[in-house]
Symmetry: C2
Subunit: 344 residues, 2 copies
DNA sequence: GTTAGCACTCGATTATCGTGAGTGCTAATA
DNA sequence: TATTAGCACTCACGATAATCGAGTGCTAAC
């Protein structure tokens, strides 16, 4: 659906204005703001057209108009151009990362911090996941009696704990032996392909030990499949300052979103036509709680493999320009630092 | 400050009523509710006295009265009697715990869940801490190049990860050796007393290895001292249903409290005259954000050692009776299950 | 096609006025 | 002397009305 240049310009100004003020914008205010030399009356006609086309609505007969979701979508697709961040801000961010890239956890929370600070919305960051495929090494540590800790280490050097209770007592020495057996396996095959048959072929195990390995492997598989990434979120209260969030119900929705980490995680990692910056506006979101919000996300990578995701949740009246610029730059920074961090 | 029986009774009824309704209570309503055969006029006189004594205030000249913080304190200390929970609820809780006591993490979140459900307030649970004193075993796991993971295991069978970057590359074999050295130490001494001198006395180390041990020990000590317990919280949105939380600022305060995990953790573990159930009302809380809330906490133990804490945050107009009963029972359950869980 | 002019709409703000639940005080009562 | 009935008074709250003003759509002139 193409709009002529003037309609496009008018729509742009309306959206920009509404994003800033959250007030319906009327023809008079508009004619002052955009210097097209058009009178309010003309603008009214154009606005009526834009309303017919589904880009604007009037909250009340005698008030200005506000953009619809369709308008935001049009804005994002056809009007907005993602700017490079200001140099000063870029260097600030860069320095910040340098100060926080010693460990993975702190880097993640720092990212969330920076995101929410720069955008004034709520930020969410997903840490890298540990999966079947990148599992390099498993260390079994005896905890107490028949409880053990399985530490899974990935090729990238991330670690994850899995605690289980086994049928027999496991002491330090046995734990070491079990670790060695499993790691012997991992040299040749990935975890998800470790079958019962393969385990039975191991020579050096006593029947008891073999039984333990049979117990351990499914636990490992299950934990790595089920595992949701760690989710860091910040700036929940940022949104409270916007007038649309004076409603307690909206706040409830937001809190529910941030707490449903599993859902959040799936949503953010589902690929969307390989776009670098993914924008979901209002009801474009599948999640019921997100219908009144917009969410902009991106991902970070290591060696071309997607490691995790991060993004920003805000009102549909979101500053899409700024957020896109910020995500874009943070993405680069993250790619850089994560590779330094994990592979160095 | 002693009150005569009638004043005490009147104060009690007022508090109970206000806790239920959040409405100022007047003399007429009151005379119907408490069957003391006293006329509203008499009650008015008594109420005026109670106001002079600081137990009641009037929001407006011509409205009923509401209890002050001092009144709640009096109620909690002198009036309230903690009841045993109903048998049905007790068995419900007990069964719930049986279904969730396989691992420490799930038990903690389950506790938070149950607490917030039974009280309709916001629940907070602190998981057991790993400290210098209960550290039994350290396993060093090579991550990648010069990054290692230190897994600290406590006497009770809990584990904690600490990730560090060292000055030299550490492979699997070296990691094992370093683990053995440190564990040899731990047989005789606690971590905080491991000095440089002691390390230097170890025979079997090459200079490089010795250097690594010198790097590792401070990291361990630091992590165990700084470590705040894991904090589980649930039912944040429970409070939104109470009229006093229609104000967005109160909600902000609440969220800030729950997010300042460090503060929360310190507050809940600071002993308070060895009371089993600790009640802090409004400004009795040191934390600025908590001034408008009440918080009731308790602790759970293992072999007489305090392991962690749990509690409930709500309005000052909190149902102190019910919450106390619930905490009391949950405390017993937790003591029971934690010991099964960790020592079994 | 654009614009000035005009009547009209309607949400928001302010003002006014009862209503009623509550109070404090006083005088009568047990 | 403690209690109570009676009464005048207070004040938040809700409903109703009046005003305001930013905004609209329509028509006619440019």
């Amino acid at each position: 659906m193409e709009l002529n240049a003037r309609k496009k310009k008018i729509l742009e100004v309306i959206i920009r204005d509404y994003i800033n003020t959250a007030e319906p914008v009327g023809s008079r205010t508009l004619s002052k703001r955009c210097n097209l030399g058009i009178s309010p009356a003309t603008i009214r006609n154009e606005m009526a057209d834009l309303e017919d086309l589904g880009y604007l609505v009037q909250p009340h007969t005698s008030s200005g108009r506000i953009p619809t979701q369709q308008a935001y979508r049009y804005y994002v697709d056809e009007i907005m151009e993602v700017q490079k961040l200001e140099k000063m801000i870029r260097t600030d961010i860069h320095r910040g990362f340098l100060d926080h890239n010693t460990e993975l956890g702190p880097t993640m929370s720092h990212t969330a911090q920076v995101l929410s600070q720069l955008t004034n919305y709520t930020a969410v960051v997903l840490a890298p996941r540990v999966t079947n495929f990148n599992c390099k090494h498993v260390q079994i540590v005896s905890l107490i009696k028949n409880r053990v800790l399985m530490v899974v280490v990935t090729q990238e050097g991330m670690a994850k704990n899995i605690e289980v209770t086994l049928s027999q007592e496991v002491d330090t020495i046995l734990a070491l032996k079990l670790s060695n057996v499993i790691n012997g396996f991992l040299k040749n095959t990935i975890l998800s392909e470790m079958s019962s048959d393969l385990i039975d072929q191991i020579q050096e195990l006593t029947p008891e030990e073999s039984k333990l390995v049979h117990e351990i492997i499914p636990h490992l598989k299950k934990a790595l499949v089920e595992d949701a990434s760690e989710v860091h979120s910040t700036g929940l209260t940022n949104l409270f300052n916007y007038p649309e969030f004076s409603d307690v119900n909206k706040i409830k929705q937001l809190i529910n979103i941030v707490q449903e980490k599993q859902v959040l995680s799936e949503m953010m990692t589902s690929s969307d036509g390989n776009r670098v910056i993914r924008i979901k506006i209002g009801s474009e979101n599948d999640n019921e709680n997100l219908k009144d919000f917009s969410i902009i996300t991106s991902t970070y990578e290591l060696d071309g493999e997607m490691m995790g995701a991060f993004g920003v949740i805000g009102p549909t009246r979101m500053n899409y320009d700024n957020v896109s610029s910020v995500l874009n730059y943070i993405r680069n920074e993250l790619n850089l630092h994560i590779s330094n961090l994990l592979m160095k």
